[in-house]
Assembly symmetry: C2
Homo-oligomer: 388 residues x 2
């Protein structure tokens, strides 16, 4: 199968490309390197050093003999997007190529507008390019569990059967997300569902939980194949940050009460989920949604798990929550779609001990402590008035 | 009350500004004249001749002695938006300033991207400007009934109580709209709800039905105060088009079976609804939604009503439907919020006879027949492949 991985230079895009290549698929990656640019802007960098995309692709060929195609450009540039699809002629497109950090989208107005423009318009161009080039292409789109927010009812997989005033319908699951980034993915989902409905496109929307881990069997084959590992308060996901804090002997920083509960999964499960989605495509006209998580825990429980598995003694510190979110809430998620296709999850505690602590220790000297304190506040403060 | 009407040069924005001024409010209008530009692009124009905004404002002052402030600029230009709010210091903002035609958004990729960028980013800038300038400002945002699509359950006012697997929640009403334009308003609604939740803004989202009619008591006071009256297949709403067809002795063109049912209201009820919303603001932090319709009918029933009221004999012709939509479906809408605030609706058949046929006859010589045939198709055709 020919699979194009958009955002193939990123934390998950790159390991996904390698995994699909290892599985025997013909793979190409595309990227505009926006993620590397955010690092310059924020003065942050991956804990684990990463090579250029060109070196990564060359290394993969050296190590395995397998080629990965390379497209450098921006989905917001429709000419690039159309030309890439016409040239590569993929059977499936895995779309990771969006600004992915909630705090980044909440820095100020410009970052909110950038995030929604980049994500929504890039995805809209892609939908048109698929419809105009080959509507049979299967779009595998990365969404996020954060789209749902924290409703007081079970979270279903994208759709929900409602009975209301004696009548029934199957409707899109109502969403109430917690940042302009998460909102951009809600907008994407609505646009994609419409494109499936009117043009007969086929799409799988993967509402992914918080991903942890840094290695897959493929990235571990050569250190030049490593993927990034972010620990800063803007791009670092909570679990990776906790592991680094524990290795450095710092307190684990929980925002607010820590009762915020989130779905999670191992990076090795992410790449497997995407393989399963690609190999079992949605039907023409179908907008299929999977909740891509393997377990869920509160932030406090995640901190406790990291503390328990850590070889060293670890403290937990509660910071004032910079986000506006419920700190205690109901949380139950249906996530049967991917296990039914064959997903067998890795467990958090195993991954921590097997791989995460070791990698973190190896690169602990690269940590910049100041990058780990939250600087982006969801609330408006008086100083914001000048930040147009 | 100081009220800023964004999109104040448009079909409804202008009569709304006059009505609010007549009610004794201090009013300013803002516009970037995009609507006039679409006319040049499409080779269409209002059936009723309209004056420039400057002449309109001067005429209103001449006729009534009341001033209306004037801001010329674009909400997508954040500097303009912030400056206008800082200078005018409104208590309420009525936001009509979006590209409003479903067919226009479906012309091709560029028009879809333009519509979503213009509408979503303009509104996002406005939310930030309110939060940074004065979070007490009440945002009265024009949405559309088309956001809901045609669910098989009753359409509630923005929110719905759901019982699911033995638990209950009040959630945003699930939406499944029928064009990239309608989707832009769904995106807006999600962004606004979030801004109310995290910044404590106050907003009323008016999901308006199809508006018909051309005169309000205020626009009727001088012909230089007239608002536009569109009949072309892109910007003309169905009822106005039917009236013109009947006056010209042409068949009324129904798309498909005509079972598509839509909520509607008289232009005089639109301006009254907005007055009621402004004078009864939402609470701080509240995202309040009203369904702004007074009655609903299928397209076939609308055609029959026009035919029945028409002084001349009228035929109904069914065209192949250029849109992708259900042509027979359930439709029942809750719309109690505005009547509870005091709305007393006008009836379609009265308006037709009182005013619409007369106006149309007066300007029938200006009709360009070719503008009334649908040219925008929701489906992809082979010729679209070159339309990036």
């Amino acid at each position: 199968m020919k699979i194009l991985v958009l955002g193939g230079d990123g934390y998950l895009g790159w390991p996904t490309a390698l995994h699909l290549s290892e599985c025997g698929h013909d793979v190409a990656v595309a990227d505009n390197f926006a993620r590397r640019q955010y690092d310059y802007e924020l003065g942050a960098e991956s804990l684990v050093p990463i090579e250029t995309l060109q070196t990564r692709v060359a290394t993969w060929r050296e190590v395995t003999g397998k080629s990965i195609g390379l497209y450098i450009g921006d989905l917001v540039d429709a000419e690039f997007t159309y030309r890439m699809l016409a040239e590569y002629q993929p059977d499936a497109i895995v779309h990771f190529a969006e600004q992915r950090a909630a705090p980044y989208s909440m820095i100020d107005r410009k970052h909110a507008v950038y995030t929604q423009t980049n994500n929504v318009m890039g995805n809209l161009n892609l939908l048109y390019a698929i419809a105009d080039t080959n509507p049979d292409i299967h779009l595998v789109k990365l969404g996020t569990m954060g789209e749902y927010g924290t409703p007081n009812i079970d979270i279903e997989e994208g759709w929900i059967e409602i009975e209301h005033k004696g009548r029934k319908d199957r409707v899109l699951y109502p969403k109430r997300p917690g940042s302009f980034y998460h909102l951009s993915k809600v907008h994407d989902s609505h646009n994609i569902e419409f494109a499936c409905r009117i043009w007969g496109l086929r799409a799988t929307d993967l509402n992914q939980g918080v991903v942890y881990g840094q290695q897959t069997p493929e990235t571990a084959r050569d250190e030049r194949l490593a993927t990034r590992f972010d620990y800063d308060a803007v791009f670092g996901t909570v679990l990776n940050r906790f592991v680094i804090q524990s290795v450095l002997g710092l307190p684990l920083t929980v925002y607010g009460k820590g009762g915020q509960t989130r779905g999670m999964l191992d990076i090795r499960d992410t790449v497997r989920c995407i393989e399963l989605a690609c190999e079992n495509p949605a039907e023409r006209g179908e907008f299929r949604v999977f909740n891509q998580i393997t377990e869920w825990m509160s932030i406090e429980e995640i901190a406790q798990t990291v503390a328990k598995c850590s070889p060293d003694a670890v403290k937990i510190e509660h910071l004032e929550n910079p986000r506006v979110e419920l700190e205690e809430h109901y949380y139950k998620v249906t996530h049967t779609g991917l296990p039914e296709l064959g997903l067998v999850p890795h467990l958090l505690s195993d991954t921590l001990i097997e791989s995460l602590f070791g990698i973190t220790k190896q690169y602990a000297h690269r940590v910049r402590l100041e990058a780990m304190r939250p600087t982006v506040n969801w609330r408006k403060t008086s100083s914001d008035a000048t930040h147009q």
